[in-house]
Symmetry: C2
Subunit: 376 residues, 2 copies
């Protein structure tokens, strides 16, 4: 993997870069649609190409449980399996074990957990999670980390940071010892933990940076902490991360959150909000989010967003989309997911362009004013 | 509407024709995907074009209840509303009132029924159903008819035939009095009822033929009667229908049923089987139906159907489709619906070609032998 910084904004920490993988180059800042079980919900690879997605996510925890890493490996890796031949990043499963399982036990060795599907018992060590991702064949693999819930005591968070650092070292070692199982190269990113404690975040970031990973993620945010804390931590961490490596803020967020994080030096994002909220009838527009179910849309001949040129906005009225939603027609799940993801894609493209033209701060201000409905 | 008979098969009653509407020409025999609420489940108009659908169905009963005929009329008609700019046929709702409602009462005037959505009370007369379809703006409208369940006594069926004939006359009169509400022309088809009683079918068909409708449907079949009875009735009716008008067998059926009915002179079909069975994991193939969930598909690198060139078959393996189905991923609903409908479209295209080449009987024999797994 290669990472080229193309431009740093003069007024802020925002940056535009290119991340090269064997499955193609990714222009950053980038938003990565989430395909937990190998598919982005309700969308086909063709839909994803139409909205100019550059890279999608898969999840190690889910794919390990179903269909199993061996099925994916035998198919030639996740991209051969699911028909998405561009880059793929797999999350390690640490967050999923933390959020989907009551019955997990964490030891120095790893996680003991029960499947959320059938209650069967499993064990994830940092090494095993690297091995699974070698089999899945994602372009970017993530180390196993330990999330803590919010709020959490300093000492508890400190313990999880020590474990996360130790596991990152073991993951790196396994990564170098375990050869690739597919005919393209993979890379491994570390994950900075530390809750809302800046000192712990700094400690975690510094130690991981010393291990010289090819990329760094910030994990354990957007789990209930105040937004201010989230952005403070983001800034604290990006200040310590090397400028020549990609930075990924995991699980964030809403359109305005993305701009705040880009301003603080983040390059990569993933979040289920555009697809999940879409399935619940919420559409993102330049004028803020709107609920398609609203009765004022009943006879509206307008598209969701007048400035959007996605398939949904160029082919369907709000009246029809509202009908599909109220009538529980399956097609609405695709049409709103597609539009929302396109809104995110387009937002990141315009953000990149603004950075390249040294006008990010202005772009952000204008976008947010309109998005939040402020009088300018 | 114009109907041109292009070729009649020499050995059978099978025929190839062209049906011209203001929204385009339809080559028959044709299968019409069902879009009850205005959308074919899980498919977009673009998907429908990809599978070469020529005409889709909508349902008067459903669209009247939701979003309401006025909403559709104000949008410019159903095709403007749902983004499908090719021909549309709307069923009258007679069958839906019969099948979805316990609390209906039928009088000489029409149906009193309760909405299956909220229990509210409504009344459909033959005239009202024409008016609603004028507002919906379908290219082909269907008269209100009365279905009876199977089995039913001769006298009960006779009564429903008398009512259906009377209602057809009233529908025709309303059709000529009520002007079109959109800037294209619409046509009205009659529906032949009569259960499995050939005499009643003959009586119904003769009287409707005397009224000179532009097309004739056969209704009230595939409701539990033996297949033999279904094909006997089909043959009995098509013998009486004029050769220069299209014939539509409503709600039928499986791939083999379509070929049997084409042999008996049917031009048009609709059925929910390809989409509903697709959503339940069943895929139609040249070698017969198969269940994608079958464990033998777990690692299969084969497409659903080796000879199929639909999007699903050219992009995904059985292993991946099985995974999507088992993991309850929304995308599978689209991928199997798309493939199954394409299988039906392609079957009708090949059937037409065989008729044009005077080899329909041979084509049917070969298709069925392979489809049913017979040793030839």
């Amino acid at each position: 993997m290669q990472f080229h910084l193309v431009r740093k904004d003069k007024k802020t920490r925002a940056r535009a870069a290119i991340l090269k993988t064997d499955h193609g180059a990714i222009k950053t800042p980038v938003f990565m649609p989430v395909g937990t079980q190998g598919a982005v919900k309700a969308l086909s690879p063709r839909d994803l190409r139409d909205i100019r997605a550059q890279i999608i996510l898969g999840n190690t925890y889910h794919l390990y449980l179903r269909p199993g890493a061996e099925v994916v490996r035998r198919a030639g890796g996740l991209g051969q399996f699911n028909g998405w031949h561009k880059p793929i990043l797999t999350d390690s499963g640490g967050f999923q074990i933390f959020s989907l399982n009551d019955l997990n036990r964490v030891t120095a060795d790893g996680f003991e957990f029960r499947s959320h599907l059938d209650g069967s018992q499993h064990f994830f060590s940092p090494e095993k999670v690297v091995d699974i991702q070698r089999a899945l064949g994602s372009d970017i693999m993530m180390v196993l980390d330990e999330c803590v819930s919010f709020p959490a005591e300093f000492n508890q968070v400190r313990k999880s940071v020590r474990r996360t650092v130790d596991w990152a070292r073991r993951s790196m070692s396994e990564f170098h010892q375990r050869p690739a199982q597919h005919d393209y190269s993979q890379t491994l990113f570390a994950i900075v933990q530390g809750g809302i404690y800046r000192d712990l975040r700094r400690e975690c970031a510094s130690e991981l940076v010393n291990m010289e990973f090819e990329g760094y993620a910030i994990g354990g945010l957007s789990v209930g902490e105040p937004k201010e804390a989230m952005f403070d931590v983001t800034e604290t961490v990006t200040e310590l991360l090397p400028a020549d490596k990609p930075r990924y803020l995991m699980g964030v967020g809403k359109p305005d959150d993305l701009l705040e994080a880009v301003e603080r030096g983040i390059d990569m994002f993933d979040c289920i909000i555009p697809t999940r909220n879409g399935r619940n009838g919420q559409a993102f527009t330049a004028d803020g989010p709107m609920n398609i179910k609203n009765v004022k849309n009943k006879d509206s001949a307008e598209p969701l967003d007048n400035e959007c040129d996605c398939y949904t906005c160029t082919h369907f009225t709000r009246a029809y989309l509202r009908h599909l939603y109220v009538a529980k027609e399956l097609l609405i799940l695709k049409l709103l997911s597609l539009h929302n993801l396109y809104f995110y894609m387009s937002l990141m493209e315009r953000t990149r362009k603004a950075i390249l033209q040294n006008r990010f701060a202005e772009f952000k201000k204008q976008f947010l004013a309109r998005y939040n409905g402020d009088q300018i």
